[in-house]
């Protein structure tokens, strides 16, 4: 037994951009059709009355379970999500010892005359007068931040981070010599904070082959990427080199 919903007649018959969203939203709609049909009354009585209790948390848990039963695993954002439910989320290798970003779009080139090997590029937050040289260290988990908070950040650390938020590295950010962030824009929270602290930073960086502990040089002398650059799709790459 299933009822028709107001939005079931839609001249422009559109579907969500992403299959997971379409699957979830369609499943919820199916549930509403079923429960409204079972209710048997007017919509106005259902919507702010029975409808508010007819759809339950247990119903929605079953929708998720159906998706997981197909073998689907969610893309994690927060560390806690995958840590609490490894059976529901993909493993992003956060605890992999020999991790390195291997972005397909990372520009690479053989070593130049100074022995600098191009291994990536990103969007510069603030134009500095000198490039910055330091030791690449991946900072991807709260355990790493807690270690740095307890023992201090190793000297000359150029932190390589996944996301553009300002919270993961909050208690130790000030101690980094530089930051390379694989996401975000020059308007993101992390960019705002590095600007305030005067720390050289590239956002939306694409890297290849840079391992923890290697010496790198960051071209923070490049032109800073502006809102107009983003709006017009203009690329203003600042380079990252691995040093011998």
């Amino acid at each position: 037994m299933s009822a028709r919903l107001y939005t079931d007649t839609d001249k422009y018959a559109w579907q969500s951009e992403f299959p997971l969203v379409e699957a979830y939203n369609s499943a919820v709609k199916d549930l509403v059709r079923k429960r409204f049909a079972e209710f048997g009354g007017e919509w106005r009585d259902f919507v702010a009355g029975a409808g508010e209790t007819a759809i339950t948390k247990e119903d929605l848990l079953r929708i998720e379970q159906r998706v997981l039963d197909y073998g689907y695993r969610f893309e994690p954002s927060a560390i806690s999500s995958a840590a609490e439910r490894p059976q529901a989320y993909k493993d992003k290798g956060l605890n992999q010892a020999d991790f390195s970003f291997e972005h397909e779009q990372a520009p690479t080139a053989a070593p130049d005359a100074q022995g600098r090997e191009l291994r990536g590029a990103g969007d510069n937050v603030v134009t500095r007068t000198q490039t910055v040289v330091g030791i690449a260290r991946y900072v991807r988990t709260s355990d790493t931040v807690l270690k740095y908070l307890t023992e201090g950040v190793p000297a000359d650390t150029i932190a390589i981070v996944d996301d553009s938020g300002g919270t993961l590295t909050a208690p130790v950010l000030e101690q980094f010599k530089g930051v390379l962030c694989a996401g975000g824009t020059t308007r993101s929270h992390l960019a705002i904070l590095t600007r305030e602290y005067g720390i050289p930073c590239l956002m939306n960086v694409k890297l290849s082959g840079i391992k923890d502990g290697q010496r790198i040089e960051v071209e923070c002398t490049a032109r800073a990427k502006t809102g107009d650059d983003y709006a017009s799709g203009t690329e203003v790459p600042a380079r990252v080199w691995r040093l011998a």
């Binding site: 969500s16 919820v28 931040v145 938020g165 996401g183 824009t185």
Partner: protein
């Protein structure tokens, strides 16, 4: 047929207010930022908050307006500062409505009385808050936030201490700005809801002033600041910044700005520090007796804030995902909770709980679905409800889409609509209970004391005869005793302008600062 009957004029206005927000949703969300976090499931908690707003805002706003009108709350906000409510207040609510339409749980014709009321509250608040520039939003003002009156700006201008990159005050101020912004992002669960910029205001050749509010730094409404914020002696701090050789060319309805050229530390040449809340007579100077005192004050506050940052980070990094989801959702949902404080009717269960009608959707809100559905709603504008006819060219992207659904006018003849979501339901939270301690400008209070004092107190400048003495009145009456008294009230704590009255122009203020 419902006994509530919207008129054609009401629906026209409601749809107009929806559209004004719809235009800004895409521009702000698609061009201004990318929100990510390894600590917080940000998109998931944002969606969760939208649902809570949809189910709770109508009743909470009615409860507030039973004590105080939105227009009067707007007056208070202009006098003391407020959190970022311009876009958040209506859009969080309307995006909750959009989610439920796309889930089939409501029709676009549902809750018409609620939606009209919430948007009318927003309109009346905004017009009052922004009455000095006559615009509903910063967007309407060409992305400027010139909300403060001349008498307040003169005090901020006059009392700001000159500083230059490399000197002790400049270093202390920069250190404070960086540490407090970082703490603010953490307090508000990776959002920028604790930071708010106003301005720019012209203070001289090649000089502009930016006013930056940092709010909710101490023990106040968030349970996660109990203990953590105990050593921070002010809940709200306002930094006035004079910048030189740079033009603030955009200040949006999130309180964020852009400048030409890019604002750097070297551009800041003047700074001041104040605190204000709904129990203070406007902005009260903090450490403003001398440049040396202000330097020491900034350094002391920075040290306290860094300590609180470490404490809070350790707390939050140890939270379960459900706790992170709750804290983020409550931070967004409760963006207007200051209205309840101003009105003296704040209750913990109203603002720090997830309504059970929103709570049931928790299982849907995994990280990936959260990112993608939020992306569809505010960035791609690609949910089925957002698709319009093929001739449509949406502002900013020319696509046949619209961020937020209108009410169909057919409701006026077929009567097929519902009024609202009804009373609030019990709420839940996985966070520790809030301790009964609230840092205010009158000290640390219990909530009962805080509500009582809020109901009893009206700042002098928000009372008759001053409440309606606006800039347009001052222009023609600056030489009257009433204008003089009003300016002197604002100047009562000013180091430079105390008792100077209403006759000064900007050049006079600059001369009193020793700059001609």
């Amino acid at each position: 047929m419902s006994d509530y009957k919207p008129t054609y004029a009401q629906l026209l206005e409601t749809n107009n207010l929806i559209q004004q927000n719809a235009d800004e949703v895409y521009w702000l969300c698609a061009t201004r930022t990318v929100q990510e976090s390894k600590i917080f499931p940000v998109s998931a908690y944002i969606l969760f908050s939208y649902l809570n707003c949809y189910y709770r805002y109508p009743e909470l706003l009615r409860k507030i307006e039973a004590q105080m009108s939105m227009e009067e709350i707007g007056d208070r906000a202009r006098n003391q500062g407020i959190k970022i409510v311009a876009w958040t207040f209506p859009c969080f609510y309307l995006l909750g409505r959009e989610m439920l339409i796309n889930w089939g749980l409501i029709e676009p014709t549902d809750a018409v009385e609620d939606v009209s009321y919430v948007l009318d509250c927003w309109k009346r608040f905004q017009l009052s808050w922004h009455r000095n520039n006559g615009n509903l939003t910063n967007r309407q003002a060409g992305h400027r936030a010139q909300v403060m009156p001349e008498q307040k700006l003169q005090v901020f201008h006059a009392d700001a201490f000159e500083c230059r990159e490399g000197d002790a005050l400049h270093k202390a101020a920069q250190g404070f700005l960086a540490a407090t912004a970082q703490y603010g992002f953490l307090v508000s669960c990776e959002s920028r809801l604790t930071l708010h910029n106003y301005g720019p205001y012209k203070v001289g050749d090649r000089r502009e002033m930016l006013v930056r509010d940092f709010r909710e730094l101490s023990e106040s409404d968030y349970p996660w600041l109990d203990g953590v914020g105990a050593d921070i002696p002010y809940n709200n701090l306002t930094v006035t910044m004079i910048v030189e050789g740079v033009h603030i060319n955009l200040l949006d309805d999130w309180g964020s700005f852009e400048s030409v050229p890019e604002l750097k530390a070297e551009h800041m040449v003047g700074v001041g520090l104040y605190t204000a809340d709904n129990l203070s007579e406007g902005h009260v100077p903090v450490g403003m007796g001398s440049a040396e005192e202000l330097t020491a004050t900034f350094n002391d506050l920075t040290s306290r804030i860094k300590h609180a940052t470490s404490l809070l980070w350790k707390t939050m990094a140890g939270w379960t995902r459900d706790q992170q989801l709750d804290a983020g959702a409550l931070t967004y949902f409760a963006v207007i909770k200051e209205f309840a404080h101003i009105a003296g009717c704040y209750e913990v269960d109203d603002w720090m709980k997830i309504d059970e009608r929103a709570e049931r959707f928790r299982p849907l809100l995994n990280d990936e679905y959260g990112n993608l559905f939020l992306g569809e709603l505010v960035g791609y504008i690609s949910s089925p409800s957002q698709r319009l006819h093929d001739y449509t060219m949406m502002q900013h992207n020319d696509n046949p889409t619209r961020s937020l659904s209108y009410f169909p006018y057919s409701m006026l003849t077929d009567g097929q609509y519902t009024r609202g979501v009804g009373p609030m339901r019990p709420g839940v939270s996985n966070l520790p209970d809030k301790q009964d301690r609230y840092r205010t400008s009158r000290g640390v209070l219990t909530l009962a004391e805080y509500n009582r004092l809020s109901r009893e107190f009206t700042p002098t400048l928000c009372q008759e005869p001053y409440r309606f003495l606006c800039a347009d009145w001052v222009k023609y009456h600056y030489d009257t005793p009433q204008a003089d008294t009003m300016f002197k009230l604002e100047q009562q704590h000013s180091r430079v302008l105390k008792d100077k009255g209403a006759g000064l122009r900007r050049e006079d203020v600059e001369a009193l600062r020793g700059r001609t």
